[in-house]
Symmetry: C2
Subunit: 224 residues, 2 copies
Amino acid sequence: MKEVKVIEIKKSVFEANEKDAEDLRRGLKGRGVYLLNLMSSPGSGKTTTLIKTINLLKDKLRIAVMEADIDSDVDAVRIKEETGVGSIQLHTGGMCHLDAEMTRQGLDNVALDGLDLVILENVGNLVCPAEFDTGAVRNAMILSVPEGDDKPLKYPLMFSVCDLVLVNKMDALPLFDFDLERCRANVAMRNPSARVIPVSAKTGEGIDAFAEWLLEEVNNWKSK
Amino acid sequence: MKEVKVIEIKKSVFEANEKDAEDLRRGLKGRGVYLLNLMSSPGSGKTTTLIKTINLLKDKLRIAVMEADIDSDVDAVRIKEETGVGSIQLHTGGMCHLDAEMTRQGLDNVALDGLDLVILENVGNLVCPAEFDTGAVRNAMILSVPEGDDKPLKYPLMFSVCDLVLVNKMDALPLFDFDLERCRANVAMRNPSARVIPVSAKTGEGIDAFAEWLLEEVNNWKSK
């Protein structure tokens, strides 16, 4: 009895989330706003990568950022200070991920009119965020060199739901046993159509390629 | 490549995790076995740290390792190959953490008689594993230098439940904006009594201090 009940609850929650996510995506499409869900492990460099990317794009796109964290607001403050774009902090109250309803609550606090792009920096976690459609148009993730090229073997779902994998901290490559080709092969095993872009948020290497991808994505979405 | 035992564990449907954890701890005490729960982000160096530590301790303690991952058995194979101690892989079936019942299922596949120490390498995740008492005597975690010294601000529960924080990849310090004193202060804010040991699993720096801590822990537990 308990087993059946638990499964039903879980299923209904997931089903509701899928519908919520579709509704959110449709609503954003109607307003011409592209939502990117950016995921990664803790400390992979999401915020620094975003700052560099936004500074390349902010004259071409009107951008806002939602920073999700269990606690602290250091990331949202950094985004605002170092890019000048609007930024809000979402506290998840201990939750390990965002679902579509939580994302919608965040978006309710963003002035969407006139925006082209909202970037959601999800909670640092390679497991749970991959299980919930946030309503974003695309999922992207950052894998950093010090984490190792074997992560797609250990966290399969995260890599299979992402259309783009940024390999960050490429400047640290000499110090770590990380093989970019092995990483590409491991990513391809989980998602053959995922694009892999090596970057260094520190030196700026590769950030232009990510910015170009994002610009094209947003323009395609708005013109579809 | 050596074959390792892979256990597919199921999530506990009963919500009595605290009781399960206490029962498990009591049972282990009765058999003279110390269980350490080691947590961290993905790619912080848990397995490499364990290999170096076990090689320092294996003549003094009889040790086994349980490696939890969502998928793959690369870690259990490495432990077996590089230390010679018994090692099994726990597959969590997508679950982001282990609870006491899942840990018990793992321990049922370990020959406990004659063992002093079982080390559980939890799923790489700074959020969910902190919420579940596994039945271990102590929780320890690894924070690696590339992740940043601000992690205790963002993942408060993980740092508050750990008695020991190993700061790994100290050899990479020159490449990253990581301040060990700031890190100590951030850890102390979450848990004033937590011990912080800087290590480098790559160079071996500090591993002796971790091994000493663990040896003393096990001996105290057995003689209590």
